[in-house]
Amino acid sequence: MSEISLQSSAGMPAAPLGRLLGWLGVRATLVTGLAIGLAIIFLGFAGPSLYPVDPYAINPAHALQGPSTSFPLGTDELGRDELALLLSGGFATLVVALPAAILAFLTGLAYGLAAGLGPGWLDRLLMRLLDAILALPSLIILIFFASLVTLNNTSLILLLGFISWPSLARLVRNETLAQRGRDFVLATEQLGASRFYIARVHLLRVMAPILVVNGTFMVGDSIFALSALSFLGLGVQPPQVSWGSLLESGLDIIALDPWWLILPPGLLVFGALIAASLTGQGLLARYGGTR
């Protein structure tokens, strides 16, 4: 009966309370993360139609006004409605960051599976290549390439999708190597199954928890990277705004103390990161152990 852990029964604090708090903690992490994340996604996609104000209508008479009933989040230096800009910027951010995260996820997954299931020479080749990619600072590379190409949604998705996959690829490759020697995989090979079948039916299922968790983290990474690029002027291009560019234009005139232009986009980027991180950690704690 090896499943019994050998702990002393005496001198320990009562267990149930700790276990309850732990359970609540996991629940709270997951629920909070999901709630923030879903709220942001909802605002990004449904916001513009729920608050149908033209974000690009310039109105110098109302420039740089604080929040009021007619402008819930105030106006910028051109008199544009800040709330409408935020919602439009949210859509612009998500419409690039989400596909980029999906692209990075699929790239990393395919790369890792190919290295883990392929012949030894392919594994060595792919892993050395990965080492080289990981050795370069990703944000700098991103800025370098962003300065070379015409920036539009497609090129941004490709750029962002390219930078965040290597860590997932390595994880998937290591996990594949660990799983492919397990008896049920060997028994499936004995049935005449191809490697592709084994990857699709068996490996993806046993790896599902870590894939979901890391996929969540990648969404956060992608939003952050896009905001950073936009902040530097290399992301979503004007006239379209994004959270990063809104933050940047607010900071340009920080001497005028327009807090309503700086705080909301900053909070949204921060919230998206927190949501991705909490959801990922909650999922990891809840499902990560059951492999």
């Binding site: 267990a15 309850l20 049920f184 028994a187």
Partner: protein, 608 residues
């Protein structure tokens, strides 16, 4: 002789999740005398390990103990933790199943034995080292002085267990608790460990509480026996009397399910262990007992002492009855068979560490020049100790590893096949592995796992129906198909693995230690199932095992493997009757034998 350990009405309940504690052990009474070995026997879920851990007070957090555990004049259940720490090692010491997990890999064995010794003795480092040397000699480590500063990984499994025993003995405990110390060891090594514990207990006048699931292990050494079933005592008493004529139907069934050389049929115990939450009010073996009457299910039967043992049974078997496990069957050599699988000049090298500076040619061979032929419908047993290459042989036959030489199925060499035709031929050989938990993808439902061979074949029709037929064939309820592998027992998981292998329509199944991680009664049912399947379908088996008795029960022919070579191969009966190789003789000697205790006087305690 006074009792070293006396348990009085010891009951233990363990917490299960957030629900209220579940009773796992009820009103256990036993005593261990100085210099004697008591074997506490039971299968998974019997509560035997819990009983041992509760003596050492090493139960999981939240466990509730009632009753008393007297070590000499001290009630261990009433001690606080600091007082209990003074008992551990000094009054009672424990040896666990897995010595590798219990030893610190980064420290020498001398330092670990010295540490154990100095917990209770204020000895100088020099004196402690002298004591460590003395102990290693006592537990039979050859050349002990030279091995003091070796690390645990430099010892073999059996030697590590000896080191564990030396640590346990370091402070001269009055009671040694051994929890399955021989499980997982090769049978020859296990025998040596048993003999060692048997000798030490008398030399040191120490009581031994020996916890095991395997009755055959303790047959030669236990002075007394205590059998648990589902958390309650079913029979206890003298060892010799118990093995000569078990009186509780469960004891009889358990003895009958131990594979012995020359045995006709292992006994099946139908049904499953009752869950701790839903144990019957009366005899807990009620639902599975062949002799049960309605009144057995009312209350726990009063103990009935007779003929040296006490059975908690309303209708115990008479002490003079001849137990079923004494029936033997002469195994005549079968008719000549047409060859199915041919192995010629098979060699396998280890490839693990082959690299730039250690070319593969310099590595030792895992298998060398194997040649054998398997007849259609034949069961070939392959026995050998760990590292003998027996599993490697199985994997080569399955084409799972690269090899040199030729393996032919119905005359068709695998080496001459490529792509689809090779896959198709591979599929005709299926496999059942040792660890039932590893044989199934934990995230795929049982029915889907069994249907997988259908989905991977040309004929994809009627999958559900065919899955249910297979489940029925391996003795499982179709309802189990909807569960995930985590929700089935080890024995059930192994049946599912067999059903899955059968679904591929194989002609040969490689059974790689298929029962060695299972309880004896589960093992008996699986072996019987495999035997019946072979008769019904004409399947051939290659059965790989370190357990000679299991192999002799199943196999028509046995190949004995030692250090990568076949040292002997013969028909089962002929091999047992006249083993030629010394290693074969040792294996046969270590395996449980059929002994007619009624015609012979009760065997005394033997030592090696």
């Amino acid at each position: 002789m006074s009792a070293v350990l006396r348990l009085e009405n010891l009951s233990v309940a363990l917490p299960r999740g957030s629900r209220k504690p579940v009773p796992v052990l009820d009103e256990l009474n036993l005593f261990v005398k100085a210099g004697e070995m008591l074997a506490l026997v039971g299968e998974s879920g019997s509560g035997k390990t819990i009983a041992a851990l509760s003596v050492m007070r090493l139960l999981p957090k939240g466990a509730k103990i009632s009753g008393q555990a007297w070590l000499g004049e001290t009630d261990l259940t009433a001690l606080d933790e600091p007082a209990m720490r003074r008992i551990r090692g000094l009054g009672a010491a424990m040896v666990f199943q897995n010595p590798l997990a219990a030893l610190n890999p980064s420290r020498t064995v001398a330092s670990q034995i010295q540490e154990a010794y100095r917990v209770h003795n204020s000895a100088s480092p020099r004196a402690a080292r002298a004591r460590a040397l003395e102990l290693l000699g006592e537990v039979g480590i050859p050349n002990a002085a030279a091995r003091l500063d070796d690390y645990p990984h430099q010892f073999s499994g059996g030697m590590r267990q000896r080191v564990m025993i030396a640590m346990a003995l370091s402070c001269g405990p009055k009671l040694l608790i051994a929890d399955e110390p021989t499980t997982g060891l090769d049978p020859l090594i296990a025998r040596q460990i048993m003999a060692l514990i048997g000798r030490l207990r008398r030399e040191l006048n120490m009581g031994v509480l020996f916890v095991t699931h395997d009755l055959s292990v303790v047959e030669e050494h236990a002075d007394s026996i205590h059998v648990l079933y589902a958390g309650r005592s079913v029979e206890w008493g003298g060892g010799a009397e118990f093995f000569a004529h078990p009186r509780h139907p469960y004891s009889e069934a358990l003895l009958g399910s131990v594979a012995r050389i020359g045995q006709a049929r292992l006994q099946n115990i139908p049904g499953n262990l009752p869950e701790p939450e839903s144990r019957p009010p009366g005899c807990r073996f009620f639902s599975r007992c062949g002799y049960s009457q309605p009144e057995c299910n009312i209350s726990y039967p009063p103990p009935d002492p007779q003929g040296g043992t006490t059975a908690a049974c309303l209708y115990p078997l008479p002490a003079t009855s001849r137990p079923i496990y004494f029936e033997t069957l002469e195994k005549p050599p079968g008719p000549p068979r047409e060859p199915q699988l041919e192995i010629r000049d098979l060699s396998v090298r280890y490839t693990g560490n082959a690299g730039l500076f250690s070319p593969a040619a310099s590595l030792p061979k895992a298998l060398a020049d194997i040649a054998l032929t398997l007849g259609r419908g034949e069961c070939l047993g392959v026995v050998g100790e760990s590292g003998s290459g027996k599993s490697t042989l199985g994997r080569a036959v399955l084409q799972m590893i690269p090899y040199q030489g030729h393996i032919l199925l119905d005359g068709q060499d695998f080496a001459a096949l490529r792509g689809q035709s090779r896959r198709a031929q591979r599929r005709r050989i299926q496999v059942v592995f040792q660890d039932p938990r590893e044989s199934l993808n934990p995230r795929i439902r049982v029915a889907d796992a069994i249907a997988e061979p259908f989905r991977l074949s040309a004929d994809k029709s009627n999958q559900r129906e065919r899955v249910n037929t297979l489940l029925d064939r391996v003795g499982l309820n179709p309802e189990i198909g909807q569960r995930l592998p985590g929700g089935v027992s080890g024995g059930q998981a192994q049946r599912i693995a067999i059903a899955r292998a059968l679904a591929a329509g194989p002609e040969l199944i490689v059974l790689d230690e298929p029962t060695s991680s299972l309880d004896v009664s589960t093992q008996a049912m699986l072996l019987n199932l495999l035997k019946d399947l072979a008769v019904e379908t004409g399947l051939s088996y290659i059965l790989i095992s370190h357990d000679f008795a299991v192999v002799s029960y199943m196999a028509d022919r046995i190949a004995v493997l030692n250090a990568g070579k076949i040292v002997e191969i013969n028909d089962t009966a002929a091999l047992i009757a006249s083993p030629e190789h010394e290693y074969t003789r040792a294996l046969i000697g270590a395996a449980p034998q059929l002994r007619d205790r009624l015609s012979a006087p009760p065997a005394g305690v033997k030592t090696l």
